[in-house]
Structure formats: structure tokens, C-alpha cells
């Protein structure tokens, strides 16, 4: 476990800093020792760069918006159109790049919401215990019992299909995993001496949970969040595939696959490249998450 630097008068400032640097170095070595993690890191960096620079990298940035180009419809991959064009003549490579933006944005926002809710509830439930714990954790159990895709579908069906609604819907079904994870972590450390010292010094439960406990449960949250980035992309793509995501002409990967599925026998590239993009992102995040877990030495499953 990481050192408890939260009681400053027991450590000198410089010793703490040295210890932290040493830890970082050791962490990086462990991370780099696992080649798959490096591959994952490279994959995700590529993805992030592609997403950030999509308007500059895309050969036809206007193809991500409203417009039809029937004179170049359904062309196979070529030098002009690296991944071919779809049935309305739009460049798939450009759309995949813009799709990366949407996917990363969606994952980021979904997990921010899910983590905010889940971690807060988990901390409160774990620390306070008793009836509060029972109520929060039983609600969490109910949410955990429903498959995330199904719950998200129900929410989107009720609120209408849009990218924003999809993000809210997925977050709505995702927070319970964090509540469960954090509550378990809190239970395992709340009887530790540094918590008791903090309480002895007179801090209230809010300060204790958020200032003393939270920094010590960050590691498992980080690992789980990294792994989840990929899964959220997957669920989001699933919803888009079903037509519940962003509406046309928004280039989400799932919607692009849905459009191409009628043509797999004749124009395979329409569905295959967005599909590969999804696999790429999900795998990348999994590799990184795996490496991080070794570094931080936590178990999240």
C-alpha cells in the first residue's frame, strides 16, 4: 500500500518528496515492464491526438457534417479515401476521426458523472455504515442487477435519442460499480490507525472521508476508470448502433456500423473500419488499465 503522507508532522517534507519520486520511478518501471501497457499507451495517445486534431488530420472535415456527395458514393478504400466512402459519398476516414472525438468525449463525461456519484455514495455508505449503508448499498445492488445497456436503453427510450441523453443514461447505469468498489475499500481502511488519529484530532466525518480516506482509494478508482473508458465506448456504440445515440449526420462509430450493415456483402469497408476503430479504442484502454493495475497493485474485479 502507498504511504500515508496525510499526517504531515510525522514526516519531513523532503523525505516525503523523495519517497514519492522513488515510488513514481518504481511504478513507471513496473508499467514499462509490461509491453502490452506501452502498446496500449501508444494506442490511446494516437487516439487522443487523432481526436484533438481531427479537423486538421481529416482529408474531408466537411464530411462529418450535413452534406451528401452522391457522385463518389460507396467507393472502396483508395489513396484519396483511405477507408473508402459510405453510401452517401462521405469519407469514412474523416468520419472515423471525428467519431474518435465523440467516443472519448462521451467516455470522459460518462465516467466523470458516474465517478462523482458513485464515489461520493460509496464513501458515505462505507464510512457511516448502519442504516445509511444499508439503504445506499441496496439501491446500488438494484442498479447492479440491471445490465447497463438495458438500463441505458430504457432511459434513452424515455428521454429521447440524443448524444447528451445517451451520456446521462450510461452514467445513470454506471455509478453503482464505483459505489460498490469504494464502499469495500472504505470498509477495509476505516479502522486503520491514521483514520483514528484524524478522528482523535477532532475532524468530522466529512473531513475524514474526503480528506483522509478518499486519497487512499484513488488507486482502484483510477484503474477501474481506465478499464471502463473502453467499456463505455462499447456500450455507447451499442446504443448508437440501435439508433438511440446521436442523430444523423453525427459520425458516431456505432451509427456508422449500423449504416454499413446492409452492405457488408457489397461494400464491406463501410462497417468494418468504424468497427476496427472501436476495437482499437477498447483494447488500448484495456492494455493501459492492465498495466496501471500492476503499478498500483490493486484488485478491482
Amino acid at each position: 500500500m502507498s504511504t500515508k503522507t496525510s499526517i504531515p508532522f510525522l514526516d519531513t517534507e523532503s523525505a516525503a518528496r523523495k519517497e514519492r519520486i522513488r515510488q513514481l520511478k518504481r511504478g513507471f518501471r513496473t508499467f514499462a515492464g509490461n509491453k502490452l501497457s506501452l502498446v496500449g499507451l501508444a494506442m490511446i495517445l494516437t487516439l487522443v491526438v487523432a481526436a484533438l486534431l481531427a479537423p486538421y488530420l481529416a482529408p474531408f472535415p466537411e464530411h462529418a457534417g450535413a452534406g451528401v456527395y452522391f457522385d463518389q458514393a460507396s467507393e472502396p478504400p483508395s489513396a484519396t479515401h483511405l477507408m473508402g466512402t459510405d453510401t452517401t459519398g462521405r469519407d469514412i476516414f474523416s468520419r472515423v476521426l471525428f467519431g474518435a472525438r465523440l467516443s472519448l468525449l462521451m467516455s470522459g463525461i460518462v465516467l466523470s458523472i458516474a465517478i462523482s456519484i458513485g464515489v461520493t455514495l460509496g464513501l458515505i455508505a462505507g464510512y457511516l455504515g448502519g442504516t445509511t449503508n444499508t439503504v445506499i448499498m441496496r439501491v446500488t445492488d438494484i442498479f447492479l442487477a440491471i445490465p447497463p445497456t438495458l438500463l441505458a436503453m430504457a432511459v434513452v427510450a424515455a428521454t429521447g435519442a440524443s448524444l447528451f441523453n445517451v451520456m446521462v443514461a450510461i452514467a445513470f447505469s454506471w455509478w453503482s460499480w464505483y459505489a460498490r468498489l469504494v464502499q469495500g475499500e472504505v470498509l477495509s481502511i476505516k479502522e486503520d490507525e491514521f483514520i483514528e488519529s484524524s478522528r482523535a484530532l477532532g475532524s468530522g466525518w466529512v473531513r475524514t472521508t474526503f480528506r483522509e480516506i478518499l486519497p487512499n482509494v484513488v488507486s482502484p478508482i483510477t484503474v477501474k476508470a481506465t478499464l471502463d473508458m473502453g467499456f463505455v465506448i462499447l456500450v455507447g456504440a451499442g446504443l448508437s448502433f440501435l439508433g438511440l445515440g446521436a442523430q444523423p449526420p453525427t459520425p458516431t462509430w456505432g451509427a456508422m456500423i449500423a449504416q454499413g450493415r446492409n452492405y457488408v456483402t457489397s461494400f464491406w469497408w463501410i462497417a468494418v473500419f468504424p468497427g476496427l476503430a472501436i476495437s482499437f479504442a477498447v483494447l488500448g484502454f484495456n492494455f493501459i488499465g492492465d498495466g496501471l493495475r500492476d503499478v498500483l497493485d490493486v484488485e478491482v474485479d
Binding site: 451528401v68 453510401t87 444523423p248 457488408v264
Partner: protein, 561 residues
């Protein structure tokens, strides 16, 4: 815990290696799965092939691949094309459509006459028609079937509800029945093509809680049609066997059984046809699908002009499309050429609401053309600014799932984008769309609609769309009419002389187009996929009538592979 880690990493490596191949193979794999669960009929195909090789009594099976579920099998409720397909093969209509002239012609009624200045229609019923249980079809059955439709008030009953009271249906003798309308009703003859006759004895015997036998008719057929229902799995398939004593007789190569399976994925439909497992498809797939099927050696794709309008009704009772200048701007911003040539791939741009091939089309009307300058002019004149329109949010509803519908939405979006208007494309399931069409508030600003002639009369594309009494259906989503339009359409219906009736309808078309209640896009050609070994198919002008399996025969040994 360490073991767990290693296993997980191994798993990830495996996934990494497999992902690419899975992604590539996934599409193919998914398609194969769909073929198996999509057609429960594949088993019976094998069975049929076995019996083909057996004794002389070879079974000859007709397989229609439907892209949409069968909502009901009660002929009094049928409105859409799969329901029409079932009714057309299990029942007989009083009047049918002639394949050459596309005009109403004799069927169960062998002759007719009008009395009382066109108010009373008297039909003489053939004496050689029997129902599938062997009992003869008489005037009583005709009277009962129409009364039943008027009392159920479903399906096409609205053709007669306002003009005919059940008490005014009289049976004069075994073969003669008279309908006394409350006014002269010109299109009456044309409307009776949507009137299917049921066996009154059987249906009355199976009535439950005053349902007029509706529940019974979902699982049994009680008609005089060429086929008798064996089995209906709602949402999946129907199966029927030929009725030996059908009054029109059978030829040696006629089909012994008729079945239809529901397959909604275009790629699966194409594969089914390519592998020689289907005889015929519907007409609602993307253009590309028909081009592809045409390239298969064993499938032909006939293309004929059809009595159909494809358009976007503009909701005239909802801001901002309640402003005629906004409507005109939208209509001028649309790229008609691209819609007809790139998306529909044939036919022509529509000229007003009535399809150009239909008798009674006003030939003075000219097709629209894209003109962005004009569009901007009208937009400047409008009561709403571009910002206000964007604030309200223009909504375009398309039917979810089909390529053509989606592309039309994108094309409209591209045109309006030139004017600075943001268009929201909203794909909806058909049921949800018809639900929203029931009130002006819930109807979208514009909706993709295919409107196929429901009867051989321009009434179908005028009265049903722009008379206030027709509002609330998917056909009338413009919510547009004026007193003048309504009066002209009513006069047309009252007129008993065909020529003067058609003139009235032409007059009405000119009045309607002035208000720009719709973006009239195209009169798409009719295309379906047909197995090469099916003979005798003929386009009949009215929805589903060309799928009368009795009129077709098998050439060669089984389906062409």
C-alpha cells in the same frame, strides 16, 4: 491474485490477436445467424426439395420475403402492404383492378349498375364461387362482410363510413346486393377493390363477445381466396395451402402452397434471394439492394412506373412551417434531381400530390426544382428569421432502419444547411410515426411518406390527404385544407360522371399546390425482386394486388438457384 493477473493478460493478448479477425469476420458471421433465425421457412425448403425428388406429386411452394410484420389477418382491418398481401391471397375482393388499364373491373361482382342518380349501387355476384369450406358465396355474404366492416370501423372502412349506413345494405336475391349511399358517391366502384368478402356463416359462428369474429380470423381464414391459411406466427411467418376448388381454376404449374416469412435485414433478404430460397421481395428496400439483386443470375428486378407519391408533408399547423414562405423556402432548398437520380434511381420528380401515371393527374402542374436563390428570397419574406427557426428546431421524421429513408433525411439536411437552417433528423419506428400523426401538435414539421394508391382513383391522393375529415392519419400529415379545397373535393366525390369527376380532382390539385403543403419529391418506379423461375407476375397499380400468387406459375424445376 497473481494467477488472476496472468490469466487476464493472456486473455487480453488473445483478444488482441482475435479482434481484427473477429471484426472482419463478424459481419459475415452475423449475417449467417440471421439467415437461420430469420426464416423459419428454410426447414420446409429442404422438406420440399426432398418431396420434389420423390413421387409424381411434387410440391410447388411460393415464398414471399416480407420486410415488415403482418399486423393482422382480418381483411376488414388490412391497411398496409403485408396485410394486403395476406388478404389478396386468402380472400376475394368484390371488384378488382385490371392489369392493363389499371381501372376497376369485375371480380366477385360480375356486373353492376347504379340507380337513383348514382346513389344506389347494385352488384350481381358470380354464382360459381365457393368458400374454402365448400359453401357457395352469395349476396348475403357480401352484405354481411360490408356491414361487418362498417361496424368494426377499421381498415379501409372510412371509404364508406360517412356515406353508407348498414341498414341501407339490402340483399335483393341470392346473387344481387344493393348499397344505398346517402349521396351520389362517384369513387364507389374504385373503393370496392379494398372490400374483401368473408364467409358469413363461419365468421358469425365464431364470434366472441361481439368481436365480429375478429379473433377467429387471426388464426383461420374464412374466405373464397385461392389459398387457405394453415399457420400464422405473428411477426414471423404465414403459411397457406391452395384451395383446390378455387373458382378461377388451377394450372399444372400453379403454386400448391404459399408462405411468407418476415426478414427485416436488407442484407439477409438479398442473401435469401441469391441462394434461391425466396420467390419475391417487397418494394421498400434501398435502390442499391435492387441493383444488386438484378445482378444475381437467378433474380430479375422488373421496373414499372407506379401510382405512388414520395413526399415530405409539411405540418401547416405548427410553427415555423405554418408560414407559407417557410414552406416554400424548404421546398426550393431541396435537391430533387439528386433525390430521384441518386437515391431513388429512376422514375421522375413528382408534379403535385397525384402520381403522374394516374388518370386524373393535373398535367398543368410542373415538377419542382432546387433553386437556392428563390429559397432565400422566400425565407427573407417569412415571419420567422433563420435564428427563430433554429430556436424552434425543425424536425424531420424518417422511418428507422431503411437506407432510402435515411438518405432522404441527409439530402434535405444538406439543402437546408445552405440556408443556415439546422435540421434534426429523427428516425422513428412506423408505429410511433402513425401514432404521432394523430394530432397536429405531435406531428413532426416534415415526415418521409410513401403514399401508394389505395384505390384506382385520384381521390386517394387528394381527399385522403387534404380533406379535413381525413386528418389524423399518416397520409394527411400536412394538416392543410381550405374551404375551397374541401368543397371541390366533396363535389368530386358527388359527381357520377367519370370525366367531370376527374376534372374536379384536377381543379383541387391546382388549389392544393398553391399552399405548398408538402415537398412533392418523386413518383418512384416500382421494383421488386423476383426469382427467374416465377412466371405471370403483373403490376396492378394498387398496393399488394400484384402479389396475387394464384396468377403466377413456376417455370422450370423449383426455384432458380
Amino acid at each position: 491474485m497473481p494467477t488472476g493477473n496472468i490469466e487476464r493478460r493472456k486473455l487480453l493478448k488473445l483478444i488482441g490477436a482475435g479482434a481484427t479477425s473477429v471484426a472482419l469476420a463478424g459481419c459475415q458471421g452475423a449475417q449467417q445467424t440471421e439467415t437461420t433465425d430469420g426464416s423459419s421457412g428454410s426447414d420446409s425448403t429442404t422438406a420440399e426439395q426432398t418431396s420434389d425428388g420423390g413421387s409424381g406429386g411434387a410440391s410447388n411452394d411460393f415464398h414471399f420475403v416480407a420486410g415488415q410484420v403482418f399486423g393482422t389477418l382480418d381483411p376488414a382491418e388490412q391497411v398496409d402492404y403485408t396485410q394486403g398481401l395476406a388478404a389478396q391471397n386468402l380472400y376475394d375482393e368484390l371488384i378488382t383492378v385490371d392489369a392493363e388499364t389499371l381501372q376497376p373491373t369485375a371480380h366477385i361482382a360480375e356486373s353492376w349498375d347504379t340507380e337513383d342518380e348514382g346513389k344506389t349501387w347494385v352488384f350481381t355476384v358470380r354464382d360459381d364461387v365457393t368458400f374454402s369450406d365448400g359453401t357457395p358465396l352469395t349476396a348475403d355474404d357480401v352484405a354481411y362482410s360490408l356491414t361487418r366492416m362498417l361496424e368494426l370501423q377499421r381498415g379501409y372502412s372510412s371509404f364508406w363510413l360517412d356515406y353508407l349506413d348498414p341498414s341501407n345494405i339490402t340483399v335483393r336475391d341470392e346473387q344481387t346486393v344493393a348499397f344505398e349511399f346517402n349521396q351520389a358517391y362517384g369513387p364507389a366502384l374504385a373503393t370496392f377493390v379494398q372490400f374483401y368478402i368473408v364467409n358469413s356463416t363461419v365468421v358469425q359462428e365464431n364470434e366472441q363477445d361481439g368481436d365480429h369474429g375478429n379473433a377467429y380470423l387471426q388464426n383461420n381464414s374464412a374466405g373464397s381466396g385461392a389459398y387457405v391459411l394453415d399457420n400464422w406466427e405473428q411477426g414471423n411467418s404465414i403459411e397457406a395451402t391452395a384451395y383446390e376448388d378455387y373458382w378461377k381454376g388451377w394450372s399444372e404449374d400453379s403454386f400448391d402452397t404459399f408462405r411468407s416469412t418476415v426478414i427485416t435485414e436488407e442484407s439477409t433478404i438479398k442473401t435469401t434471394m441469391q441462394q434461391g430460397e425466396g420467390d419475391m421481395t417487397d418494394q421498400y428496400m434501398g435502390t442499391q439492394a435492387y441493383a444488386e439483386m438484378d445482378s444475381y443470375a437467378n433474380v430479375r428486378v422488373p421496373e414499372v412506373p407506379q401510382l405512388q407519391l414520395f413526399h415530405f408533408p409539411l405540418n401547416c399547423q405548427k410553427a415555423p412551417t405554418d408560414d407559407i414562405n417557410v414552406r416554400k423556402a424548404i421546398a426550393y432548398a431541396f435537391d430533387y434531381d439528386s433525390a430521384v437520380n441518386d437515391i431513388i434511381g429512376g422514375g421522375g420528380v413528382a408534379a403535385g400530390p397525384v402520381p403522374r401515371e394516374m388518370a386524373g393527374h393535373n398535367d398543368d402542374l410542373v415538377p419542382m426544382e432546387q433553386d437556392l436563390d428563390k429559397a432565400k428570397e422566400f425565407l427573407d419574406k417569412a415571419d420567422y428569421s433563420v435564428d427563430e427557426i433554429n430556436e424552434i428546431g425543425l424536425e424531420h421524421v424518417v422511418v428507422a432502419g431503411t437506407e432510402l429513408q435515411r438518405q432522404m433525411g441527409l439530402l434535405n439536411q444538406a439543402g437546408l444547411n445552405e440556408l443556415g437552417i439546422d435540421l434534426e433528423i429523427n428516425p422513428l419506428q412506423w408505429a410511433r410515426l402513425t401514432d404521432r400523426a394523430t394530432s397536429a401538435e405531435s406531428t413532426a414539421h416534415m415526415t418521409n411518406i410513401f403514399h401508394t394508391a389505395k384505390m384506382p382513383s385520384p381521390d386517394s391522393h387528394t381527399y385522403l390527404m387534404y380533406h379535413p375529415s381525413s386528418f389524423g392519419s399518416y397520409i394527411s400529415q400536412s394538416w392543410y385544407s381550405t374551404d375551397e379545397i374541401a368543397a371541390t373535393l366533396e363535389e368530386a366525390r358527388k359527381s357520377t360522371d367519370l370525366q367531370s369527376r376527374l376534372e374536379k380532382y384536377e381543379e383541387a390539385q391546382a388549389l392544393i399546390v398553391e399552399g405548398m403543403p408538402s415537398v412533392y419529391i418523386a413518383n418512384p418506379p416500382y421494383r421488386i425482386g423476383i426469382n427467374e423461375n416465377v412466371e405471370g407476375w403483373q403490376y396492378r397499380g394498387v398496393m399488394s394486388f400484384d402479389w396475387d400468387v394464384h396468377s403466377m406459375t413456376r417455370s422450370g424445376e423449383g426455384r432458380a438457384k
